[in-house]
């Protein structure tokens, strides 16, 4: 264990507690308080707390099995937490009804480790489906049925990721990097307030991974969205994150400004 990890919660910037955050104080888009999750008798994480200001980019790092992806799924309300509270854009995720959860999720974009595109559908249909949260119903099941403004929005999102020329190609005919770009377009098309990325470069080669991360954060900055991303790549965490959260042994062991951290210190989380 490094010094960093033996120091309890090395929070040089306590999440939204005010003091260390530079003024003006921005609204909090996401707040997690004392969150715990077990699978059966196995504790995944315990007493995790942090907050995210509007426009902030937070990297979550930690070894495999420390519950990073589970934490994101709890935040999205895809699985229930055992204890604690999650507030996302004013919605209490634990107590929200299905319709409230859907309304909350409609303001979030998700990019997964696997791109999770629907393989048999076209690139444009996949991106159009990113609007289903805001515009439910059969007209957004496919680009064929989609109203003109939705098709236009999807084409604009594809243009932003540089793949408008592949709009009619089947998703399973794309390379890994292209697929992840389409996944980013799908996440952005609904103009989300928060972008969540779960190891977006895990299935890509290093060069494609760099491209995807550059694009992802360039667009996130352009759109002014709040970003939470999981990464095993320490360089990425330090380069793209304003803050870094570290999970180890089922607890939050680190919450610090990225510019105050060194790569060596983060590597300690993986010991």
């Amino acid at each position: 264990m490094t010094d960093l990890l033996t120091t309890p919660l090395a929070r040089d910037v306590p999440a939204q507690t005010g003091a260390a955050l530079s003024a003006p104080v921005l609204p909090v888009d996401l707040r997690v308080t004392d969150l715990s999750k077990h699978f059966g008798d196995t504790p995944i994480f315990q007493d995790v707390s942090f907050g995210l200001s509007r426009g902030e980019a937070v990297a979550i790092v930690g070894a495999n099995g420390t519950g990073k992806s589970t934490l994101l799924r709890c935040i999205l309300g895809l699985i229930p937490a055992d204890h604690g509270q999650i507030d996302v854009l004013g919605t209490d995720v634990g107590r929200a009804r299905n319709a409230q959860l859907r309304a909350m999720r409609a303001q979030i974009g998700l990019v997964s480790q696997k791109h999770n595109l629907v393989p048999r559908l076209s690139v444009l249909s996949n991106v159009v489906q990113g609007l289903l949260g805001r515009r439910p119903g059969i007209r957004h099941w496919s680009q064929t049925l989609a109203p003109a403004p939705s098709r236009e929005a999807a084409m604009t999102a594809l243009e932003k990721v540089g793949l408008a020329h592949l709009a009619s190609r089947r998703a399973d005919r794309l390379s890994g990097g292209q697929s992840q770009r389409v996944a980013i377009a799908r996440a952005l098309v609904g103009q989300p307030k928060i972008l969540i990325a779960d190891e977006p470069t895990a299935s890509l080669d290093p060069a494609a991974g760099e491209d995807v991360m550059d694009l992802f954060f360039r667009l996130a900055l352009q759109e002014g969205v709040t970003v939470v991303f999981i990464s095993h790549n320490i360089e990425h965490a330090l380069r793209y994150g304003d803050r870094v959260l570290g999970l180890a042994d089922g607890r939050m062991k680190l919450d610090a400004r990225a510019h105050n951290l060194s790569a060596d210190a983060l590597r300690g989380l993986y010991d």
């Binding site: 859907r102 629907v118 489906q129 289903l132």
Partner: protein, 268 residues
Amino acid sequence: MTDIAPPARYDRPSALAFLGYAAAIVIILWSFAGAGFSIDKVISSPPRFADFLQRALPPNLEPQVLARLGWKMLETLQIALAGAVIGVILSVPVALLAARGLIVGPWINQTVRTILGFIRAVPDIAWALVFVVAVGLGPFAGMLAIAIDTIGFCGRFFADDMEAADKGPAESLSATGARRIDVVACATVPAAMPAFISTALFALEKAVRSSTILGLVGAGGIGIELKVGFDLFDYPTAMTVILMIAVVVIAIEQLSGWARTRIIGEQR
């Protein structure tokens, strides 16, 4: 060379396993007895079979007989195709209700699965008898029998296919706030589509095989010609029917296999 002896070639079964094997053998022998298995009949049957072949061959190839049987075969295929198509289409909503964790809760899943189990448990010929009573003699009864039989088959397998489909795209769409029905339509069904197509083609093959015998109970198709051929000891015509069924069923299986490879093999 090691000093350690190799393990025994065979493990001695436990007493319970031994009793299980013995019970299985007794049940199989009991079944043979119940089925009237007779070595004498097996030995004496080849001459009788040869006698049948002698009387049935050559098959009846008179043009008017071939024309009549051809039309009946066509009717058989129409029954199979119409019944299978209706069955496959109706199977999709039924499967959505039967698939666990998709749209409805476990009680409805289990109820629908039980009903599908009942439909499959009743043989197609019995469904044909029921529909002959309900809608009268003729091909419509056969088509309904094929349709219900297809729902029993495809409803269950479509549901299993959707349960086994990759959950990633569905979770990604759920995370965008999409409704459950939208997620199923946009992610689950497309993911299960290759399996749907494969199952539907098997259902069509099954429907063609079934439809050839539904005529035995008056539900249309070529089966009635087979029955009449045997009843009137017109074995050459009966042989023509048997060969015609074999050729058509094999052709449909080949066609279905080719279509499966073309549609799924390249697109999966």
